[in-house]
């Protein structure tokens, strides 16, 4: 049993939960993820480890309510328990001797970026964080991220906070200003990660993205998560989730994410009794 210690909303449709999982917290590293099975009949949902506390024996998740799976997880309250939590899965983020790193989080991607930024910061790397939200009501964890960043830039689609526009605008400015960047790590919607890759590619700036492919097992035995990277088929759960952004076939990734769109909508409408999104 995986008891929920704490649970609250961070922003509209964005939820936080801290879960008791001593075995997982002992091993968890930034960049890794969990598979959460809310109750016996639920799907296996992959969610990044947004934080961990080895002393308390807990791991935290931040997730966006999308379809039935994530809504079900959101319906759990502190004190209740999830049916199953598997982890830590995937490979941790590696520090490769960089001096200046830029981490980019888009929307829900701000959460997984936080422990990564913290790790680099603790290791004395200069961290610039660029985070993008839809608008000021959707801000979360900007304060946490600021505490582990040397520089911090916020963008919103509507300009209600920070720069009006996209994270890539800010990144492009940094590049134009010839600021030193050894590597960019970007996590967010695939379309954002692709845009970041397109900005850094002409300048040969190493860029890492964390892919959010569909998954079933999360442990290398089903192939649901396969992606093409540099012309080769990889399993996101075992070979990733982080890959060289310049080699990822984003078109295929986005195509595969749409595989169950019709069914997902039905399931969600049936679960919530409406179609609000």
């Amino acid at each position: 049993m995986y008891k929920i210690i704490e649970k609250y909303s961070l922003a509209p449709q964005i939820e936080f939960a801290r879960i008791k999982a001593p075995m997982i917290s002992k091993k968890a590293e930034p960049g890794q993820f969990l598979i959460v099975v809310a109750c016996e009949k639920s799907e296996r949902i992959p969610l990044t480890i947004a934080d961990f506390d080895r002393e308390e024996g807990s791991v935290s998740i931040v997730f966006q309510k999308m379809g039935k799976g994530t809504h079900k997880i959101a319906d759990f309250k502190a004190g209740e328990s999830f049916h199953a939590v598997l982890g830590p899965q995937g490979n941790p983020t590696e520090i490769e001797g960089e001096k200046n790193i830029v981490v980019i989080g888009g929307g829900i991607g701000v959460a997984p970026v936080y422990p990564i930024a913290r790790k680099f910061h603790e290791n004395g790397v200069h961290v610039t964080s660029i985070i993008g939200y839809r608008g000021k009501d959707f801000l979360f964890w900007d304060d946490k991220l600021a505490a582990v960043s040397n520089e911090m830039k916020i963008t919103t689609n509507d300009g209600s906070v920070g720069h009006k526009g996209f994270v890539t605008d800010v990144l492009q400015q940094m590049i134009d200003n010839k600021e030193p960047i050894d590597r960019v790590i970007a996590i967010g919607p695939p379309i954002m990660m692709k845009a970041v890759a397109d900005v850094t590619r002409p300048h040969g700036i190493a860029t890492t993205v964390s892919l959010n492919s569909l998954m079933v097992c999360g442990m290398g035995m089903c192939g649901a998560c396969r992606v093409t990277v540099g012309g080769e088929v990889k399993f996101t759960c075992m070979d990733g989730p982080e890959f060289d952004a310049h080699k990822v076939d984003f078109a295929e990734l986005m195509q595969r994410l749409g595989m169950y769109k019709d069914l997902e909508k039905d399931a969600h409408d049936e679960y919530k009794g409406d179609s609000n999104e």
């Binding site: 997982i24 091993k27 296996r44 079933v216 035995m221 089903c222 649901a224 749409g258 169950y260």
Partner: protein
């Protein structure tokens, strides 16, 4: 109603009915049928059938007891060698094992050893269910050993280690135990209620089961050994799905057999939306392969509601490695066999969903290493099969995670773990067995390997 040379076959659900449900196909013997079938056995002195069984069940004796209606004696005879007879009686490839050696096979039908085994084992299920009500046995204070994986190899190893008097913990990566018995072989061939009895019986004898524990990520074998476990058994199976690396294989609705079957068997996608996990079966579902796995997929697709289910196999029907009963059942249920056919590319629509499969015709050449005739492409024979779902069932290999994270463990070039005659790996105290050692094989060999390893582990620990 029967003569010596004609088998009593189990009654089966008619093909028309079973196409629409996931209930078991053969309905089991009545007592009278079982006795009639048992009475066909000649009780041969040398009992060649026994040599055909990978774990050498004393077939003659158990059938002898059955002839005298000594049901308890019959089941206990089987348990001496096989601790999962409900399972093996159903899924063993009997026609190439025990029954292939039966003397009656030369003149008529072999004795239906598998069916009799199933009958005797099923008869014992009620008693076993009843026994589950007792409190679990307390094993605290005993020497600790670990088993990785809860498939047939792990179950058998854990059961024996428990009998030798150890405190056994099984670490399973999935949230539910049973290995292929749970996520691979479908309900209509192996009811999950039976697998549950096997798992619950283990837990009840004091074996601890830790699900959601992926060795290599959650912890390493070195860490387990450092943590008081005196010996470790690795029974992690061969679960890494193989693809053919042909164009279009990542199109939407092209699945691996593992994914398709896991969605249905483990996640219960056939009961979607009561269960949350979906699966696509398509109007026209094509399955690539010719083994048990491919047939399980094809028969699952039929039950999910595909109008057409094609089995695309590169050799001819005679070379198909699947159990004969499976092939017969699938054909009765309406599967179309496209033998001597091989896919070369998948083609999709503008949103990336599979539309058709480009195939070539094959012909058989000279026999290869496996003794089967090698399939050769007929140049220029390309043609298309309309299919909106395709399931690639061309085999699986060991997942490399455990070997990658255990420096002392040596593997072969096929990725299987090297073991000696006692099942010990190149790392002292670490044993292995089942598909992780042999590559994808059978339930009964995995079970046998688990038991051999348990005995060796016992010897090993005694000498520590």
């Amino acid at each position: 109603m029967s003569d010596r040379f004609t088998a009593i076959h189990m009654k089966e659900q008619p093909a028309e009915d079973r196409r629409k449900n996931f209930s078991e196909v053969p309905c089991g013997y009545t007592e009278e049928e079982a006795i009639l079938e048992a009475n066909r056995c000649l009780q041969c002195k040398n009992a060649p059938c026994i040599e055909g069984c990978p774990v050498a069940i004393d077939i003659r004796s158990f059938i002898g007891h059955l002839q005298k209606r000594e049901f308890d004696k019959a089941i206990n005879k089987i348990y001496e060698a096989d601790i999962l007879p409900c399972v093996t009686g159903r899924v063993c490839p009997q026609e190439s094992q025990c029954q292939a050696r039966c003397v009656l096979d030369k003149k008529g039908d072999a004795v239906s050893i598998g069916s009799l085994e199933r009958y005797v084992a099923d008869r014992d299920l009620d008693r076993r269910r009843e026994a589950l009500k007792d409190a679990p046995v307390d094993v605290s204070g005993k020497t600790k050993v670990a088993v990785i994986g809860s498939g047939p190899a792990g179950i058998a190893c854990a059961a024996d280690l428990n009998r030798y008097g150890y405190d056994v913990t099984i670490f399973e990566a999935f949230h539910k135990a049973g290995g292929v018995l749970t996520y691979g072989i479908p309900e209509f061939r192996l009811p999950k209620a039976i697998v549950d009895v096997e798992i619950n019986s283990l837990v009840q004898t004091g074996v601890k089961l830790v699900p959601n524990a992926l060795t290599g990520r959650s912890f390493t074998i070195d860490e387990l050994m450092a943590e008081d476990y005196k010996a470790v058994f690795v029974g992690s199976g061969a679960g890494l799905p193989q693809f053919m690396n042909i164009p279009g294989e990542n199109l939407n609705n092209v699945y691996s057999a593992n994914e398709f079957l896991t969605r249905v068997n483990l996640m219960k996608a056939h009961r979607y939306p009561e269960y949350d996990t979906p699966v696509k079966h398509g109007k026209n579902c094509a399955v690539i392969g010719g083994g048990n796995v491919a047939l399980d997929v094809a028969r699952t697709a039929i039950r999910l509601g595909s109008e057409k289910v094609y089995l695309i196999y590169r050799r001819s029907q005679e070379e198909m490695p699947a159990r004969h009963e499976e092939i017969r059942h699938a054909l009765e249920e309406g599967m179309e066999l496209l033998a001597l056919t091989n896919p070369v590319a998948y083609h999709g629509d503008e949103s990336g969903f599979l539309e058709k499969i480009e195939c070539v015709k094959m012909e058989l050449g000279e026999p290869d290493d496996s003794g089967r005739r090698r399939p050769i492409v007929k140049e220029g024979s390309n043609f298309f099969i309309e299919a909106d779902v395709c399931v690639v069932s061309v085999g699986s290999t060991p997942n490399p995670l455990i070997a990658m994270t255990t420096p002392l463990l040596e593997t072969t070039k096929w990725g299987t773990i090297k073991v000696d005659d006692n099942g010990m790996t190149t790392m002292p105290g670490v044993f292995a067995g089942g598909d992780i050692v042999t590559g994808a094989a059978t339930v009964i060999t995995a079970m046998g390997a688990g038991r051999t390893a348990a005995a060796s582990m016992h010897e090993y620990i005694k000498k520590l």
